[in-house]
Structure formats: structure tokens, C-alpha cells
């Protein structure tokens, strides 16, 4: 069965409304894109949409309560919530360096979750 999917392109400020027509996951046509990059964008968004994951992890004995972390590379979009669930169990202890691996190979994606700042030892409650 033929299906149509609509996308707003985010490659440049033109924000083209792009339609992708597919049959059994095979892309038949892309229309509405102002340039080639738009076609690439919707093809990627249709076949393998990925997003960067950014969140926070509680820190023990840190200068602040939460450590910001991110995925080293983007992860499949449909795994974002499961990644969040996985990370909700994780705790770290100060000190942490920017770039330290906090969680290796999350959900077998081959992507690790890394620290997004230096966080030295301190007593957070002192600052509250």
C-alpha cells in the first residue's frame, strides 16, 4: 500500500513542507523540497531517525546535585524513552570530568552516555 508522510525540513530556515511517498517502506517519491538536502533529510528521517539524548544523572558528594550527560552520538529516536528508563537507575559519584563515560553502550546501540561537564567534590546542600 502506498503511504504519504509529511515532514517539516529543519536543514535551513526555509522550513520546506516535504511529502514522502512510500510503498512497503520503499521510497517512491519526495516532493516539496527546495533542495537536495531536503530530500536527504526526509529520507534519513523516514528510514532511520536519530536524536541526541541529553539528560541529567544524580551525583553523590558533588558540588551540584545533578550531572548533565549526553549521548556521544545520536541514538535511534524510538529508543529515547527506553534510554531514559535505563539511565534513571544510574548514580555517579563526584569528581567527574567532562567527557567521562557514564554508561557504556546503552541498549546495545554502540553509543555511550558521557558527562557534559567537570563536577568537583563539594557539599551541594551548603549552597541551597
Amino acid at each position: 500500500m502506498k503511504r504519504s508522510h509529511n515532514f517539516t525540513c529543519i536543514v535551513c530556515p526555509m522550513s520546506c513542507q516535504i511529502e514522502l511517498i512510500e510503498e512497503d517502506d520503499k521510497i517512491l517519491e519526495v516532493r516539496g523540497n527546495g533542495c537536495k538536502r531536503g530530500e536527504e533529510y526526509v529520507t534519513e528521517e523516514f528510514t532511520n531517525p536519530v536524536r541526541m539524548l541529553t539528560t541529567t544523572i544524580p551525583v553523590q558528594e558533588g558540588r551540584i546535585a545533578m550531572l548533565p550527560v549526553r549521548s556521544e552520538r545520536p541514538v535511534p529516536k524510538n529508543l529515547l524513552r527506553r534510554c531514559m528508563k535505563e539511565l534513571s537507575k544510574v548514580r555517579v559519584k563526584a569528581p567527574v570530568r567532562c567527557g567521562d563515560i557514564i554508561y557504556e553502550n546503552i541498549l546495545d546501540t554502540g553509543v555511550s552516555i558521557i558527562s557534559s561537564r567537570d563536577l568537583s567534590i563539594g557539599n551541594y546542600s551548603e549552597f541551597r
Partner: protein
Amino acid sequence: MIEVDVAIIGGGPAGLASAMKACEEGVKDILIIERGMELGGILLQCIHDGFGTFIFEETLTGPEYAQRYIDEVKKTGINVKLNTMVLEIDSAKRIIAVNQEDGLLEIEAKAIILSMGCRERTRAQILIPGDRPSGIYTAGVAQRYINIEGVIPGKKVVILGSGDIGMIMARRFTLEGAKVEGVYEVMSNPGGLTRNVVQCVEDYEIPLHLSHTITNIRGRRRVEGVTVAKVDSEMRPIKDTERFVPCDTVILSVGLIPENELSKSADVGMDPITNGPIVDEQMQTSVPGIFACGNVVHVHDLVDDVSKVAEVAGRGAAEYIDGKLKKRRSPIKVKAGRNVKYVVPQIIHGEKFDEDIRFYLRVKEIEKSVKTVVLADGERIFEKKIKIVKPPEMVKLDISPDILNRITGDELIIDVEGEEDEEKS
């Protein structure tokens, strides 16, 4: 009394980049004064990615972007006073600050760089009627609670305003398990970048209601719900479209205002449109030796632009204390013309220009296939075609010295011309 060469008020990205530049230019005695317990400013709570694509050519999170500058600053002899709040500055460049260790501090600086950033508009400034329960936060405060303190301030959330911060918080609340009932935007277009509409709102199937506003907030102790309504073309709520939306939290993302109490205490001339100081091409304010950069001047959407312009201020301050600041001629005013809300810098006054000047403009309305035109004495000295202009995305124009040196009058007008205007002329 402490004496320094350059005092920098605020340790966010603007303060950090201006300090680094002043240091590179050979200034010895630099002091950054920051009221928070850490350097980095608002970036520390902006844990999402999207920072640094121009300067570092990779996409970093806010804390990572800040970390790069903090690491650099640490390698230099730049002094930093944390947990220190500046209370007052005067036009003689005397600073009064306070902290727990030193008590009241008096600092005299040869040059000052203002980099205090901005703060959020609150409910009082947009006048939403109704009860006064708990559960109403500005987006930045909620962001701080979640990302720094680790506290999720609600379970069922309504967001007013579709600026980038509002949309980013819609995603953040959702990922943390709260339910975002909807994002309501009074304008007919989203207030933030398309990328955020797609990746923060549509990805999570959060309803985005354009041309809508909150007309009432209800709740005794805690928010119990809001009344929302469609607005007409004049942005007046349409009575019979009113509907009650139950929620326990209201997040306001209704704009930022440059934080300029200190600038005013130093008698710095202000621009009523940007709400920030009037600056020249070296980011110097109307008070000689007082410079300003970053969100204190006007609200930037990209931190990369903040860092870049902060370097201009840092260099300006270094040249000022060396007595090498560019010779000035009588100022040329830069005025916002058709479909332009404001232009920064608002004045330029080098005697002879020897490098590009970058003008930042904010447009009033979305327009496709436009031309930005610079007029001096009625003559079109510069033209550039742009595919599309949008209010959330700042337009940058780099004008070269050979064009600048052709200016004769005392006024420049920058227009954004539509296709039709061109046909008419």
C-alpha cells in the same frame, strides 16, 4: 579599594569570551565578578545540545560549551570572584559589590565590560488574571529546578509561549515523565526555531496551539487548571472559544529582558527597543571605557554570536586602557528601516574603517525572498539577497571597510525589502 584594569560583570559566555580576548590582547589585571557559585552563566542549565556549531563546528551541550571557555580562563591569570553580586557601578567606573567573605567590596576599574545577561519575563509583566496558587514558574526557573537541583516541579504541565526555552522545557518535562498538556502560543507562528518545533514538540506528540493564550489561572493552593482561548488577529481572546484545561503546573516562556539596572546606575544610554545599552562597533556604550556584550545588549538566539561579539568588547576594553581605541568621528546612527525591529550596533564612529563590521538585526515579520539593503544618504551602498527572514532568527550582515568608508552622512538605514517593494521602485 581594589584596583583592576578590566572588570567584567557576569561570568556567562559573554563575560568569559571577553575576558579571554582582553587577556590575549595583553591586559594584565582582569577580574570577572559572578554572583553565582560557578562560571558559565545560563549555559550551565541548558543541558540540551545545539551550542557551538559555528565556533567549534560541532554540536555541544550548554555545559560543554561553557567548560571549553572555563578551561581556557583557568590557564590564564584572570582573577575570578564567585558568589559576588555587583550592586552598583558609576560612570567613573567604580564598582560596589558584596559577598560573604569580603563583605562590601569597592573596586575601581580602568574599563568595565557589562555582561550580566538577561532575565525572564514573569506573569506580572504579561498580566494573566486569576488566582495566585503555587505551581507557576518561568521556563528558566523550571529548567534550573530540573537540570541543576534535580526536582521536577509538576506532573501535568501547560506551557505558555513557544520560544525555544518553552519548547525545550516541553521535551524535558516529557522525558522526565511529566505530561505536557500543550504549548500555547499567542502568535500565529512558533516563537522558536523549526528544529525545536520538530525535535521538542512534534517528536513527543505534544499539541502546539498557535494563536492561543491563557486567559485565567485557577487554583487554591496549587494550580488546578487554566482557561485557554483562541485569539483574533488583534490578539484579543475570543470569548466563546474558551476552554478549561486541568493541570498542576504552568510554565511561562514569554520572553527575556536584558538585565540592566547596573547599566542605568552608570548612566549608560539605553535603547528602548532592545532594552539594552546603545553600543558602537567596538561594543562601547555611551560612557567611555564601559563596554557591553551578550544578552545584556539584546537577546541573542545563538551563544556562538555572544562569544564572537564578546571578543569585540574584550579587544575594545584592551585598546581603551592602552589609549589606542579607534579615533572617533562624529557618530553615524544606524537605524532600523522597513521590517526591521532593531539593529546592533546602534552607532558606528570609527574615523577610518579597516575591518568588517557585523550588524545584527531582528526582523518584525516573516518574509520570503527579501533583500537587505543599507542606505546612506539615500544611496544604496550594500545589498544582499536572503531567501527567508524570521523573527526568531537573527540576521547578520558583514559590511566591508571599502563600503563603510564610502559613508558620507551621519545616518545609515537598514531595510529588509520584499519582492514587491523592488517592483515598485
